[in-house]
C-alpha cells in the first residue's frame, strides 16, 4: 500500500513547525500505525534525514504514551483504539493521511509529534491518591463493595491518561481525565478520607494548568480509547459543587 503523509515537523518547543509531505510505499494492511511510521523513519534515516519523533512505549494499548491526531481525530478513525492498536487496514491505497501532535496550551510541543503531558501528572499529584499504611498487603476482599460501584470505579480506572480527551475537545478541556481519576477513587471506600479535598485540589490544579472549561460537547467520550463515559463528568461536577459548599476549612 502506498500512502501520502502530511506530518507536523517541529525542531523544538521554541521554533515554529510546519506540515511536511512524505510518501511511503510497501505498507502492509496488518502493520500497526506506529510500524508504518517506523517504515517512514527508516526511509528518512537511509536518506540522511532526521526521523519523525513520536511517543510510544508498550504498543499494546495500555500505557497511554502514543498520541497522534490522525485525520482530525485523536488516535485515528477506529473507536476505542489507541494509535498503536490502529492498523493500516483502516486506510486505502493512495490515501492522504494528516498526522499532527495533540494541540493544547497545557500540552506544549517538545518535538514533531511529541508533547509534554506532565500537566496530567501534576493534576494527579494534587489529589489522585489515597493514604494507606505500609506493611503487608491487605487481603483483597476484606472490605465488601457493592458490585455496581466496583464496576463503575473500575470503568473510570481504565483511563490511561493519554490526553485524547484534551486533544478532541474544542476547548482543550481536561474534564474527562479529571472526572475519571476523581470518580475512580470517590466511588470506593478507600477513597473516602480525602474525597472532598481531592476533587477541590485536582479541579483547581486543572484550571491552574490552563485547560479550558467543559462545554459538554461529549467529543471526548467519542475519542477516548478506553471509552470513559461523560457520566463521570456529571459526577465530578456533583463532587465539586458539594465539596466547595460543604468542605470545612478554617481559612474559607
Amino acid at each position: 500500500m502506498k500512502l501520502n503523509l502530511k506530518i507536523w515537523r517541529q525542531k523544538n518547543s521554541s521554533s515554529p513547525g510546519k506540515m511536511v509531505d512524505y510518501k511511503v510505499d510497501g505498507i502492509d494492511k496488518d502493520m500497526s500505525f506506529l510500524e508504518m511510521i517506523d517504515v517512514l523513519n527508516q526511509q528518512l534515516i537511509d536518506g540522511g534525514e532526521e526521523p519523525v519523533a513520536f511517543d510510544h512505549d508498550c504498543r499494546e494499548g495500555i500505557c497511554g504514551m502514543c498520541s497522534m491526531y490522525i485525520n482530525g481525530q485523536p488516535h485515528g478513525p477506529w473507536e476505542k483504539t489507541t494509535t498503536c492498536q490502529l492498523h493500516m487496514r483502516a486506510f486505502n491505497e493512495g490515501d492522504t493521511v494528516y498526522i499532527e501532535p495533540w494541540r493544547a496550551k497545557s500540552f506544549p510541543i517538545i518535538k514533531d509529534l511529541v508533547v509534554d503531558r506532565t500537566a496530567f501528572d501534576r493534576i494527579q499529584q494534587a489529589g489522585g491518591y489515597i493514604s494507606v499504611n505500609t506493611g503487608n498487603a491487605v487481603d483483597a476482599n476484606s472490605i465488601p463493595i457493592e458490585k455496581e460501584l466496583a464496576d463503575q470505579a473500575m470503568d473510570a480506572a481504565t483511563c490511561i491518561g493519554c490526553g485524547a480527551c484534551v486533544a478532541a475537545c474544542k476547548n482543550s478541556s481536561a474534564m474527562l481525565f479529571v472526572s475519571a481519576k476523581v470518580s475512580h477513587l470517590a466511588l470506593l471506600p478507600q477513597g473516602q478520607p480525602e474525597r472532598k479535598d481531592r476533587v477541590l485540589n485536582m479541579m483547581n490544579k486543572m484550571d491552574e494548568e490552563g485547560f479550558g472549561a467543559c462545554s459538554n460537547t461529549e467529543a471526548c467520550e467519542a475519542a477516548c480509547p478506553k471509552g470513559i463515559s461523560v457520566f463521570n463528568i456529571a459526577r465530578v461536577n456533583r463532587e465539586f459543587i458539594s465539596s466547595s459548599a460543604f468542605v470545612k476549612k478554617k481559612d474559607s
Binding site: K6, W8, M19, Y69, N71, G72, Q73, Y98, E100, R103, A104, K105, S106, A168, K170, N171, S172, S173, M175, M203, N204, M206, D207, G210, F211, G212, A213, C214, S215, N216, T217, E218, A219, C220, E221, A222, A223, V230, F231, I233, A234, R235, V236, N237, R238, E239, F240, I241, S244, A245, V247, K249, D251, S252
Partner: protein
Amino acid sequence: MRWLTSFLTSSAGRKVLMSLTGLFLCSFLIAHMSGNLSLLLSDGGQAFNEYAKFMTTFPLIKVLSIGTYVVIILHIVQGILLALKNRNSRPDKYVSKASGKGSTWASRNMALLGIIILVFLIIHLKSFWYQVKFGHIPTVNYGGGEIKDLYTIVVTAFKNPLYVGFYLVSLAALAFHLVHGFQSAFQSLGIRHTKYTPIIKFAGYAFAILVPLGFAIQPLYILMFK
C-alpha cells in the same frame, strides 16, 4: 466567603452559573411566550395591551424583570469570558479539520448561537421595550383609562417581511442554543443518571422545538393574515 469567590471563578463553577442563569431564562421564555399568544386573539389587541400594561406596572413583575436583566447580563458576560478562556486554551489550531465525532453542531457553536441571540435581543428591545419605556406611542382606552397601544407597534413591525425573516432566523438560533443548552445545564449541575437523563433530553428537545415555534406563530400570523 473565600470559598464562594474561588468557586465562582473556577471553570466548573462558572459553568454552574451558566446553567442556573440559563435555566432561569428558560422559565422566562415560557412566560414571555404564553403572554405573546394573546396576540392571536381577534379582539383588536385589547388582551395583549392589557397584558403589556400589567407586565410593566405590577410591582412583583417589576422586581422580577430587574432580576431577569441581571440574569441575562450574567449569562452574557460569563458566556463571553468562558468562550475567550476556551479559545485561549488552544492558541495553535489544528491544520486538519476536526472530525467532530460524538458531538453535535449546536454544542460546538454555542457562542456563535449566543451572539446571534444577543444581536436579536438588542434589536428586539429597541423595537418594543424602548418604545414602551421612552418612545411616544399611541394610546387606547378600553374603559379603564388610557393605556399604551403596543399592539399597533407590534403589528406594524410584523407586517415587514424583512423583520419577520430576521425574527425567524433568530428563533432558529434560539432553538439550536436550547437543544444543547437545556440538557447541558443539567450535566454541568451534576444531574445525570441512566434513569432520568433520557427524560431530561426528551424535555430539552421538546422545549427547544415548542418554545421557538410558539414565538414564531405570531409574526407569521400577522404577516400573512392581518
